[in-house]
C-alpha cells in the first residue's frame, strides 16, 4: 500500500498598505537602506506601536475572502526571540490563545485539481510585522542591517494539513494568490517576496496517524514549492522504505541543485514565550465594520467565473481563463459592454492576446490596447470591413502603437475588398494562370477550389472577402452554390 502525502502550508503575505504595521513609515520597496525608519520600527527605547487600521482592514478582506470566522476582539502578542534583523528582539504577532484569538480562524478555500474539487481548510489568518533585512557583503567580516522592511505589515495564513500532493499545494497557492489579488490585499508575488510560503510535509499509511513532518523553507516561486515538495516527498518515502525514520527538522530548498537539505544549526526547541502585547489595546471589529468590508469586497474568482459562464454563454475553460486575474475579467466585461459579442471577444483574449502576453511576459494591465479597441476590432471583422486574417495584423499593430483599429485599417488600406467587379478580374486571372487545378475542380474534385481561393487571397494581400471569392469562383466554374 502506498503512502499518503500530507501537506500544510504557512503563507506570509505582504499587505498593500502605504505605511508600516505600527508606525507611519513608508512601505515602498527599494529605497536606500535605513531611510524608511523611525524610533518605532527601529525599536528605540521608549517608542510604542500603534496599529495601522488599514492593515487590519486588509486582513479582514482576506479573512472574508477565505471564508473565515472573524473574531470581534483579537489580540496582538509578543513572540520573543533574538535576531539582529528584529530590533526589539520580539516580533509583534498574533498567537492562538483561546482567550486572545487572532484576527480570524477556521476558513477554507476550494481548489480544483484534475477536475476534482477539494476543500482546503484555513486554520487561521493573523497579522504581524516583518523583520529588517541582513546584508552580508561578500568581502569582509561585517554584516549590515537594513531596517526599511522592519515593521512592514504581514498577514500569515496557516492551512490545515489538507493538501495531498505537491500539485494540490501548487493549485492552492495559485488560487490563494488569485483571491488575494482580487481582494486587493496583496500583489502576492513570490518572486518579489510579497508572498512567501513554508510547507510542512509528512507521509503516512492511509488511516494511520500523521507521520513525522519536516518544514521546507526557502522556496521563491510557486513552481519551486511544487518541486521542493516533490523532492521532499520522494526523500521521505525513500527513508521510510529503507525502514528509517524521518527526522523532524527544518529543511532548506536549494533551487539550483533541486534538493532540500537540513539547516546547519541544530534544531533547538524554540520557546517564544508568547504573551499579550501590553503596549496595544485589543483589535475590536464591530459588526458594522465587518459589514462595510464585506460590502466593498469585489466578486471573487469562482463566483465571477460562474456568472460569466451563465451571463455570456461561455464554456468553463474559457471562463476560467478570463477570470485568471481581476484585470483580465474586467477587460473582458468592458469589451463586451462596448460590443456585445462575448464569444468572439473571449476567443481573441484567450487566443492571440494571451499568446502575446506570454511571449512578452506582460500583464494585461500593461498592454496598450483598451477593451474598447478590442471591441472595435471584433466589430470590424463582424461587419465585413476586414477579414479575420487581417484582423490579426491589426491587433499586433494596436498592441504596438496603441492606435485605434479603425485608424490602422484606414491608414494601411486594409479594408476588405467586397466589390464584385474588382474581384472578378482577379478571379479571371487566377483561372487563367492555374489551368490544372481548374480542371481538377471541373472534374469533380471540389477540394481543389480551396487552392484557387487562396490564390485570390494572395493576390489581394488577404483583403478579399473569402466568402465572396468562393461564390464568384463557383459561379465562374459552373458549380452549384455552396452548402
Amino acid at each position: 500500500m502506498d503512502y499518503e502525502i500530507v501537506i500544510g502550508l504557512e503563507i506570509h503575505v505582504q499587505l498593500l498598505t502605504q505605511s508600516k504595521m505600527f508606525c507611519g513609515c513608508s512601505t515602498r520597496f527599494g529605497a536606500p537602506p535605513n531611510t524608511q525608519t523611525c524610533p518605532v520600527c527601529l525599536g528605540l527605547p521608549g517608542s510604542l506601536p500603534v496599529i495601522n487600521r488599514r492593515a487590519v482592514e486588509l486582513g479582514l478582506r482576506a479573512a472574508l475572502a477565505l471564508n473565515c470566522t472573524v473574531h470581534p476582539t483579537s489580540q496582538f502578542h509578543r513572540k520573543n526571540y533574538y535576531y539582529p534583523d528584529l530590533p526589539k528582539n520580539y516580533q509583534i504577532s498574533q498567537y492562538q490563545y483561546l482567550e486572545h484569538p487572532p484576527l480570524a480562524t477556521d476558513g477554507y478555500l476550494d481548489i480544483e485539481v484534475d477536475g476534482q474539487r477539494r476543500r482546503v481548510r484555513i486554520r487561521r489568518v493573523h497579522l504581524e510585522e516583518d523583520t529588517g533585512r541582513l546584508v552580508h557583503p561578500p568581502e569582509g567580516a561585517v554584516s549590515w542591517v537594513d531596517y526599511n522592511r522592519s515593521g512592514v505589515p504581514l498577514m500569515e495564513i496557516v492551512t490545515y494539513p489538507d493538501l495531498r500532493s505537491p500539485l494540490e499545494a501548487r493549485a492552492f497557492l495559485l488560487k490563494l494568490r488569485q483571491v488575494l489579488q482580487y481582494a486587493e490585499v496583496s500583489t502576492g508575488r513570490m518572486e518579489e517576496g510579497t508572498l512567501r510560503c513554508d510547507a510542512n510535509v509528512s507521509l503516512r499509511r492511509p488511516g494511520e496517524p500523521l507521520g513525522i513532518r519536516t518544514e521546507v523553507k526557502n522556496m521563491n516561486s510557486i513552481r519551486s514549492v511544487e518541486r521542493a515538495l516533490a523532492y521532499e516527498v520522494a526523500r521521505q518515502r525513500e527513508v521510510l522504505e529503507r525502514g528509517g525514520a524521518v527526522v523532524q527538522e527544518t529543511r532548506h530548498w536549494d533551487e539550483r541543485r533541486g534538493i532540500t537539505f537540513a539547516s546547519r544549526s541544530k534544531e533547538e526547541a524554540e520557546d517564544y514565550r508568547y504573551f499579550p502585547e501590553p503596549d496595544l489595546v485589543p483589535v475590536e471589529v464591530t459588526p458594522e465594520w465587518l459589514e462595510e468590508v464585506r460590502r466593498t469586497l469585489p466578486e471573487l474568482p469562482d463566483a465571477r467565473r460562474d456568472r460569466i459562464m451563465a451571463q455570456y454563454g461561455l464554456g468553463r475553460y474559457d471562463a476560467e481563463l478570463l477570470v485568471q486575474t481581476r484585470a483580465t475579467a474586467d477587460f473582458f466585461e468592458a469589451a463586451v459592454a462596448a460590443h456585445p459579442s462575448p464569444k468572439a471577444i473571449a476567443n481573441w483574449m484567450v487566443g492571440d492576446l494571451a499568446a502575446y502576453l506570454n511571449e512578452h511576459n506582460l500583464e494585461i494591465e500593461q498592454l496598450r490596447i483598451t477593451p474598447g479597441q478590442l471591441a472595435e476590432l471584433v466589430r470590424l471583422v463582424e461587419d465585413g470591413t476586414i477579414s479575420g486574417r487581417i484582423a490579426k495584423d491589426v491587433l499586433v499593430e494596436v498592441l504596438e502603437t496603441g492606435d485605434s483599429p479603425r485608424r490602422i485599417v484606414d491608414r494601411r488600406g486594409w479594408v476588405q475588398i467586397a466589390d464584385e467587379g474588382a474581384l472578378r478580374e482577379t478571379v479571371e486571372a487566377v483561372i487563367r494562370d492555374h489551368p490544372e487545378p481548374v480542371r481538377d475542380v471541373q472534374a469533380g474534385k471540389e477540394k481543389a477550389i480551396a487552392f484557387l481561393v487562396g490564390q485570390v487571397m494572395r493576390r489581394t494581400q488577404g483583403r478579399a472577402n473569402p466568402a465572396l471569392v468562393q461564390r464568384l469562383l463557383r459561379e465562374r466554374l459552373g458549380l452549384p452554390p455552396q452548402g
Partner: protein
C-alpha cells in the same frame, strides 16, 4: 536670588518678569545644583546651557509682552528614563550610557510646550527597578533630609532634586510606587496618574502595563499644574485614553465636606512602623475634621499584590529589555566575534544584578509550561485586586493609607536582601495593579525623616485625589518644611 529656591511655582509665577526674570530663577536653581548636588547626587546630567538659553528665550517673550504658557520658567528635572531629544538618556544603566534619543517623550514635549525649563536628567534605579536608587548603574542618590539615608526609588533623583531645591518640580515614573515612595521619603508631593492618563511614549519601558509618568513637586497645587500640562490622549500611545482632561487646578479648593474616605485595614497591619502608622491615622483624623466621612474598608487581596506584581512586572521587563543587545545603539561589548557572544557579553556587562535578576524571573514566568501557572495566574489575581478596589470605591470616594511602611532606611541597609527591598512598595504596588491614581503628600516626621500619606482614587479621578490632598495640605504645615541642607 537664593530666596527664590524652595518656593512653589504658583507663588513665584505672579512675580515672574516683575521681581525677577526667568533667567534669574533658572540661575538660582542651577547655582543650588552647583552648591548641593555634590552631596545629594540627584542628577546624572545637568543641561545648564540649554536651560539658560531656554530661560533667555522666555524672558524675550516676556519683554515682548507675549502671553506665557502655564508653566513658563518652571525649572524642572526629568527622570533619566524619559527620552529627551539630543540629551543623553541612560535609564541609570551602563547599557544605555551612550544613548542620545532622536526624539522627546510626549510628556517631556508637553512640559516644554508649557514653558517649563529642563535643568537636567535625574538618577534612578537601573531601568526603574528598585526602591532606593541604589541600583543605579552610576552612583547612589542621597536623601537630602539625611545624607546617609536613601531617597527612595526608583525616582529617587527626581524626589531628592525637588526636596533639595535642585528643581522646582520633576517628572518621575511609577511602576510599583516609584514616584510616591521616594516622594514620601523625601517629604515632597508625588502623583501617579491613572494608567492611560499620561502618554507613555518616550518613557523607556520597564513594565508596560504598569508604568505611568507623573509629577513630583513641593506642594499639591504645583503637582496639579504639572499634571494638567502632561495629561491627555496621545496618538503615539494606544494605551493613553481618549478622555477629556478636567481642570484639576480649578477644582482643588472644593473641599472634602461629605466626601467618604476609606481606611483599608490591611494597610495598617504587620510591618508598618508605629510612627508612620500614627502619622497617617492622624492625617485621616484631620480629613475627618474637615468634614470627610471616614470608614474602614477591606482589601483582602493586598497580601497577593506583591507576588502578583513581581510576576507581571518581571515578565514584561524580560521582553521590554530584550532590545538592549549591542546591535543598533547603546553599549556593545568589545571583542565579541560572533552573534551569541555579542549578545551574552553586552548584556552581562551592561546590566546590573537587580535587572538581571528580574529578567531571569520574568523569562522563567513566561516559559512554556510555566506561563499558565505564573503569568496567567498573576493576571487573574490582578483582576481580583482590581475588583477589591472597585468594591471599596462603591462605598468610599478615596482611600487613605501609608505610602511606605517606614519613614526611610539607610544606604546599604536593604541591598543584601531583595525581598526586604521589595517590601518597601507593599502599599503602592496594588494601586499600579489596579491602574488607579494615587498621590503621596507629606504628613509628618519620624525621627526627623518625612512620612507620606497615600490617597488613592477611582480611575481618572485625579481631580478628587488632588482635591483631598490639597484640603489636607492647607490644614497642615508639613509641606512647608524644607530639609536642613536647603535651609543651611
Amino acid at each position: 536670588m537664593k530666596e527664590l529656591v524652595g518656593r512653589p511655582y504658583h507663588e513665584l509665577r505672579p512675580r515672574l518678569g516683575k521681581d525677577f526674570s526667568v533667567r534669574e530663577l533658572v540661575d538660582a536653581y542651577l547655582e543650588n545644583i552647583e552648591r548641593l548636588d555634590g552631596q545629594v547626587r540627584a542628577y546624572l546630567t545637568v543641561t545648564a546651557d540649554r536651560a539658560r538659553a531656554q530661560a533667555q528665550e522666555l524672558d524675550d517673550r516676556l519683554a515682548r509682552r507675549e502671553p506665557l504658557p502655564p508653566l513658563a520658567g518652571m525649572p524642572v528635572a526629568v527622570k533619566d528614563n524619559l527620552c529627551t531629544r539630543g540629551v543623553r538618556t541612560t535609564c541609570g544603566s551602563r547599557i544605555l550610557e551612550p544613548f542620545v534619543p532622536p526624539y522627546d517623550a510626549t510628556a517631556v514635549q508637553r512640559l516644554r510646550e508649557a514653558g517649563a525649563v529642563l535643568l537636567g536628567k535625574t538618577n534612578l534605579d537601573e531601568f526603574a527597578m528598585g526602591s532606593s536608587t541604589e541600583n543605579s548603574g552610576f552612583f547612589s542618590t542621597r536623601n537630602p533630609w539625611r545624607l546617609d539615608h536613601v531617597p527612595g526609588g526608583s525616582s529617587g533623583g527626581s524626589a531628592a532634586a525637588v526636596a533639595a531645591g535642585e528643581a522646582l518640580a520633576a517628572l518621575g515614573s511609577d511602576t510599583g510606587g516609584s514616584i510616591r515612595q521616594p516622594a514620601s521619603l523625601c517629604g515632597v508631593v508625588g502623583l501617579k496618574p491613572t494608567y492611560g492618563r499620561v502618554s507613555r511614549y518616550g518613557l523607556v519601558a520597564f513594565a508596560s502595563s504598569l508604568d505611568q509618568i507623573g509629577p513630583l513637586s513641593l506642594d499639591v497645587r504645583d503637582c496639579a499644574l504639572v499634571l494638567q500640562a502632561i495629561s491627555g490622549h496621545d496618538p503615539h500611545d494606544s494605551t493613553s485614553v481618549d478622555l477629556p482632561v478636567p481642570d484639576v487646578v480649578a477644582s482643588l479648593e472644593a473641599g472634602v465636606r461629605g466626601l467618604r474616605v476609606g481606611v483599608p485595614v490591611e494597610f495598617f497591619g504587620e510591618g508598618l512602623h508605629p510612627g508612620v502608622r500614627q502619622a497617617v491615622l492622624e492625617a485621616v483624623r484631620v480629613l475627618e475634621g474637615l468634614g470627610a466621612r471616614v470608614e474602614e474598608v477591606a482589601l483582602p487581596t493586598l497580601e497577593y499584590a506583591l507576588p502578583t506584581y513581581y510576576l507581571i512586572a518581571c515578565a514584561e521587563a524580560s521582553s521590554n529589555l530584550a532590545r538592549y543587545d549591542g546591535v543598533a545603539y547603546g553599549y556593545r561589548s568589545p571583542g565579541a566575534h560572533d552573534l551569541y557572544t555579542l549578545y551574552a557579553r553586552t548584556r552581562a556587562e551592561g546590566f546590573g544584578p537587580e535587572v538581571k535578576r528580574r529578567i531571569m524571573l520574568g523569562t522563567f514566568a513566561l516559559s512554556e509550561g510555566y506561563y499558565e501557572g505564573f503569568y496567567k495566574k498573576a493576571q487573574q489575581v490582578r483582576t481580583l485586586v482590581r475588583r477589591d478596589f472597585d468594591r471599596c470605591f462603591q462605598r468610599v470616594d478615596v482611600l487613605a493609607t501609608p505610602t511606605s511602611p517606614v519613614a526611610g532606611f539607610r544606604l546599604g541597609e536593604r541591598t543584601a536582601d531583595p525581598l526586604q527591598m521589595y517590601l518597601a512598595d507593599v502599599y503602592t504596588i496594588p494601586v499600579n495593579l489596579a491602574g488607579l491614581p494615587g498621590i503621596s503628600v507629606p504628613c509628618g516626621f519620624v525621627d526627623g525623616l518625612p512620612v507620606g500619606l497615600q490617597l488613592v482614587g477611582r480611575p481618572f479621578e485625579e481631580a478628587t485625589v488632588l482635591r483631598v490632598a490639597y484640603a489636607y495640605e492647607q490644614a497642615t504645615e508639613w509641606h512647608r518644611h524644607r530639609c536642613p541642607l536647603l535651609r543651611g
